[in-house]
Symmetry: C2
Amino acid sequence: MQDIIVQKYGGTSVGTVARIRNVARRITRQRKKGFRLVVVVSAMAGETDRLIELAHAVNPLPTPREMDMIVSTGEQVSIALLAMALHAQKCDAVSMTGAQVGITTDSAFTRARIVDINTKTIRKQLHEHGVVIVAGFQGKDTAGDITTLGRGGSDLSAVALAAVLKAAKCEIYTDVDGIYTANPRIVKNAKKLKRISYTEMMEMASLGAKVMHNRSVMFAKKYNVQLEVRSSLNNNPGTIIMKEMKEMEKVAVTGVTISKSEARVTIHSIPDKPGIAAKIFTALAHAGINVDVITQTTGADRKSSISFTVAANDVARTKKVMSTVNVKMKGIVDYDDNIGIISLIGTGMRMHHGVASKMFDALARAGINIEMITTSEIRISCIINQKDLTKAANIIHKTFQLDKRKQ
Amino acid sequence: MQDIIVQKYGGTSVGTVARIRNVARRITRQRKKGFRLVVVVSAMAGETDRLIELAHAVNPLPTPREMDMIVSTGEQVSIALLAMALHAQKCDAVSMTGAQVGITTDSAFTRARIVDINTKTIRKQLHEHGVVIVAGFQGKDTAGDITTLGRGGSDLSAVALAAVLKAAKCEIYTDVDGIYTANPRIVKNAKKLKRISYTEMMEMASLGAKVMHNRSVMFAKKYNVQLEVRSSLNNNPGTIIMKEMKEMEKVAVTGVTISKSEARVTIHSIPDKPGIAAKIFTALAHAGINVDVITQTTGADRKSSISFTVAANDVARTKKVMSTVNVKMKGIVDYDDNIGIISLIGTGMRMHHGVASKMFDALARAGINIEMITTSEIRISCIINQKDLTKAANIIHKTFQLDKRKQ
């Protein structure tokens, strides 16, 4: 049997007729090398937004089930077009919707979870045609209703198919070349990484490197699917995301990320009694609001102050929750959306001491004030003023010699 | 159990957000009267053409399977939007694709035939939600591939669902008020018919009254589904299409139709030997070309001449076939696309004598030359010069007092 490769092309890669032809050429080339290919595609860039707009014009609050019904047509159009483009290049191929592939999900419309993939039909089609084009981002529940997987869903479709089909690898084609030591638009000397571990990638992804969604990386880690992130617009090698290897620990730091999309909430002058923090964070969790960095201090007056960060677009909902929680504790609530987070990530941190102090020192020398700090096993994050983010990223990148990193 | 009504709305009726809301209001009104509703919708006007154009931009000759994959998304968008519009009007409803409904077809992509409808799921949804919105024009084959039913497919979906669900009736909403004694744009005094038999409707449909496709009427006749053709833009009663009743025969003539979309082919000076006609019409049949009116004459020189009409857009293919057939018979082949067909239709013709002579006489008095004639049990058609069609339609309409017809 020929090896199976799973490829995934995002909306930009299939955004125009010319780009669809370009993707078809890539597939044809791989096919001629003797691989069998499962190709997962997203909707053409802009198409999903067009459909959502149409839905909202009819009903400002459409039911999630009907949203999935309409939005899933975007990928269905892409798969047919890509199959047609392959046929025009004399490459056999057949398209399949998520439901046809047998991607079974739960019934959480617009954010469904994959529960099972029946590989019988796709294996048969793969055997007959050599190339199967699959609509990403979608599946069906056990009642036969069409579901979508939410943000990053097409990546997840690709990783899940790679896992169940035991593919040799899963290539994620996007509009960037791979994963960099920092965002090249912010840090001029950012270097592309040849390899990165799943865990590092997850820390990178959740902190602003918007290349891949965490759900997919987590899934890939669980099933040990080797990922490669690369560009559909050139032939440069990308970045391989794989399981951690001993030699990765030789390097203390893998990358720097920054994020502007968080806001800080502070509640001052509340009684320093046990259970206050629990009350706040339970209420936020019930509302589905994710809290990132948390700090708590107690002043000389025995009054406490708690600060935490939430995603900037959760601020409105956070205000609502806080106004309810605060009725009894009578604190003063402040919101600051002028903050930024700079993070340093690296598997090697576990082995190398002094990374944190080196980071704090570098920021201090540059006159950048650190407002909050949080750390995990392989990450150190500092909350600073948003206006200092670019400067901080460049300084930290240089301090840890990421610009001198060999691929 | 509440009575089931099947409704079908064409592309114009759901062509804009405002029209979708309008359709939702109609449905809500019927629902409040206590009916359960199965509503079949087409793609929004223009959407199917947009998808076909996109496909052709990628591949000038797309495979029928992939065409059905892309084109079927048009109806899927409509059903979701209509369900959302109903929810906005507080009317419960759920959308279903052809595949989800369980409309099983053969695998003749782009022109599939319905072979079975499993009513289990749709009955369940109808019981739970009261209103089920079904994507017309589509189904799936036994392999699970998406198929489409070809021209007039949405009507067919509606009629077939009405048949299997034993619906009280099947309402076909379109942009005309119903079936008229003649095309009101051609004959000023044309009257809307209250009722018409399936057979009459089939003769009308195939001869230029483009309201409903023959396949659907034939299907309705077979399963005795009562149809009503009416407008989605007003509340006027439409025309009921039903099985023939004794009293229908009291009226000799039901309607007049004209058609410009045919061309005449004549082959002169061929030897008058048996089997010539058979040879010609077998070859045309093999090429899938439908022949309508046929006449054959033999001159004093023992040479024959055969004339027949084909659809104007089949002329190119007919020329090809004729050039092959004619190699041996060495006739002279003429094409005339300047012809028109005027037809008189009525179940009562069987009982009333003199209808044909009255028609010929009226045309003669008006100085209109009849070039060919053909008749069936309930129809008389004359081929005349295209420029005389409007005049002829008005004269015949008046001669048979169709303008005085009571609804």
